[in-house]
Symmetry: C2
Subunit: 321 residues, 2 copies
C-alpha cells in the first residue's frame, strides 16, 4: 500500500499538503495539481491513501454470507449486527449466493474505504481476502493461522453425536452427509463420529457423497434395506436431517418410534422457537461475538491474528429418545 510519504516525495510537497488534498481541505491550486498528479502517477486512489486515517472510518462492517434466507445464516447476521451495534458499528449485508463475483464487489468497497472490515462465511476461494491485507475474519472455514477465523469444534461435535446416540440407546449407527472438494471444517464432524464408534466398538456405517450430489434418497433406502437394524442417525447438518426424516417416512420409518436422529448446527426458526431437530448446536451467538471482537482488534492493529474454536452442545429437538 502506497504511503502519503511516497506521494509527498513524488509531488515535492509537504506531508501536510498531501493530507489536506486527500481530505478536501483548502490548499493552493498549484499544490493540489501536484499532489493529484503524483497520486495518479503512483496509480493509487485517494481512498486507498485515506484509509489509513482513523477519522475516515465509516464504522461499518460488511457481512458476507451465502444467503440470509437460511436460519443458520440469519441467526449469525442477527447476532453480528447486535454485537457490532454495541460497539457503535453498523452492518452492511451481502448475500453472495456462493458467487465469488459478489464477494469481490464487497472487497472493493472495503478498499474504497466504505467499510472498515469484513466478516465472511464463504465457501469459494478466499485467496482474495487473504491477499487484500484488510481486516477480515472467516467464520466456519479454516485456512491457515495467518487468517483470522472462528469455528466450532466440529470434531468434538461428531464424537458427541455418536456418544449421545449410544447413551440414549442406539446400537447401529449411520453417518449421512456430503462434502465438497474444498477442505472445510464440517468434514471433521464425520471424522469425530467415526473415531468415537471405532474406539467404542460401535457398529456404524457411512454415507458421504461428493457435492453436488443426486440420489441421496436411494443411497439411504439401500443402506436401510441392507441393514434394517439401523436405529441411530447422525446427519451432517440440521437441514439434511430434516430431509432424511422425510425420505425415511417413505419406507415407513419414523423418528422416536423406529430410530433417533441428531443433526448439527442448532437451527431455530427464530429466537423464541424450539430446535427443529435434535442437534449438536453451534454456539452461534458466541461465534458472532468472537468474530466481531477479533475483527475490531484487527481494525485497530493490522497485524492482529487470532483463531478461535468454540465448544458445541447437544440440544434435544424432539427426535432423540
Amino acid at each position: 500500500m502506497t504511503t502519503m510519504k511516497e506521494v509527498a516525495k513524488e509531488a515535492k510537497v509537504s506531508l501536510g499538503s498531501v493530507s489536506n488534498v486527500i481530505n478536501n481541505k483548502p490548499v493552493r491550486p498549484e499544490t493540489k495539481r501536484k499532489v493529484e498528479a503524483a497520486i495518479e502517477k503512483l496509480n493509487y486512489e485517494k481512498n486507498d491513501l485515506a484509509s489509513g486515517f482513523k477519522t475516515n472510518r465509516t464504522k461499518t462492517i460488511g457481512l458476507i454470507i451465502p444467503t440470509v434466507w437460511h436460519p443458520f445464516f440469519s441467526q449469525i447476521a442477527f447476532y453480528v449486527e447486535k454485537y457490532l451495534l454495541e460497539d457503535g458499528y453498523k452492518l452492511l449485508l451481502c448475500n453472495s449466493n456462493g458467487n465469488a463475483g459478489s464477494e469481490l464487489q464487497y472487497i472493493q468497497l472495503l478498499r474504497q474505504n466504505m467499510i472498515d472490515g469484513i466478516i465472511a462465511i464463504t465457501y469459494s476461494d478466499i485467496e482474495m481476502y487473504i491477499n487484500s491485507k484488510l481486516p477480515f475474519v472467516s467464520i466456519d472455514r479454516i485456512f491457515s493461522t495467518n487468517v483470522n477465523f472462528v469455528a466450532s469444534k466440529n470434531y468434538e461435535g461428531g464424537r458427541l453425536a455418536g456418544k449421545t446416540l449410544v447413551d440414549k440407546g442406539s446400537k447401529n449407527l449411520i453417518f449421512i452427509g456430503s462434502h465438497n472438494k474444498f477442505v472445510n471444517a464440517t468434514m471433521d464432524r464425520r471424522k469425530g463420529f467415526v473415531s468415537f464408534c471405532k474406539e467404542n466398538n460401535i457398529n456404524y456405517e457411512v454415507i458421504d457423497l461428493l457435492e453436488p450430489y443426486q440420489g441421496l434418497d436411494l443411497e439411504i433406502k439401500k443402506a436401510f434395506a441392507k441393514n434394517p437394524k439401523i436405529d441411530g442417525i447422525f446427519a451432517l447438518n440440521d437441514f439434511l436431517g430434516l430431509d432424511i426424516i422425510k425420505i425415511l417416512e417413505e419406507i415407513d420409518r419414523y423418528p422416536i418410534r423406529d430410530y433417533q436422529i441428531i443433526g448439527f448446527d442448532g437451527i431455530k426458526l427464530s429466537f423464541e422457537r424450539d430446535y427443529v431437530i435434535s442437534t449438536i448446536a453451534q454456539p452461534i451467538s458466541g461465534i458472532a461475538r468472537k468474530s466481531v471482537e477479533i475483527l475490531l482488534k484487527n481494525i485497530e492493529d493490522e497485524n492482529h491474528k487470532e483463531n478461535a474454536y468454540l465448544p458445541v452442545d447437544f440440544k434435544d429437538g424432539g427426535t432423540t429418545w
Copy 2:
C-alpha cells in the same frame, strides 16, 4: 429543511460559495467563516444541507425489520438486498427488536446522510418516519396515502383461506389469531375470512386474543371440546399454525387425519425448501421489488408517494387435503 439559499442570504455570499464550503472545496477563509457562522445560526448541520446533492449519495439503504432471525423477515432482507444490488445500492441491516430507540438511531443516520433512504417493517409508532420527510417505504403496515407503503391483500387472503378450506372439504371452520392495539393490516385476514363464511353460510368460530396473550392452548382446547366437529383451521400466520398443530397433538388431533390447516405468510426455511405449512403466501419477492422501486423513486423525487397492494396465493405445504 433549510436550503442553501437561506444560508447564502444569511451569510451574504453567493450560492456557489455555500456549495464550496459544504463540499470542502477551497474558498477564501473569510467566506468560509461567514458561511459556517450562518450554518450555525440556522442550526443546521452541513450534512443536512449536503443531503440535497446527488454526489453525496451513499447508495446505501437502511432496512429496518424486527429481527432478521425469522424466515419471513430474512426472506424480505434477502430479496431487498438482491434488488438493491441490481440498482447499485447496498443494504444496511437494522434489527429493531421492536425497539423504537434502535429505529430512531437509523433515522438519525439517514439525516446525517449516511444512508439515502429507509425501508421498514415496524410495528412501533412511525410518526418519526413520516415527520422526517426523508425517503421512506413501509412494508406491511399501512398508514395513510401520505406514506409510501407496500402490503399484501390481506382481506382477499382471508377470504381465500376460507374458500380453500371449504373447497377441499372442511365443514366447520375456525379462525385462530391475535391482534394488538395498533391497527394493522393483518386484522383484515380475519375480516376477509369471516365475510366469506357469512356470505356462504359456513359454520365458523373465531378465537382472536389481544396481544400480549397467554393461554392460547386452553382457548383452543376449549373450542374443540365445545365443537369436536371443527375440521378446518385458518391461522393468522404460519408460525401460529405450527403452534396450533403442536397444541392439537396433545388432544390427539393430527393434520390431514383429523383436520386441515392453512396459515398465512408463505414461510420457507430457505429458497430451495418446501413451505412449512399450507399457507396463503405473500409475494415476498414482489413486495421487496416494489419497495425498492418506490424508494428509489422517492429518492429521486421527494414528493413521490405510492401505495401498492399485492395479490396473495394459496400454496400447499402438506397440511391440507
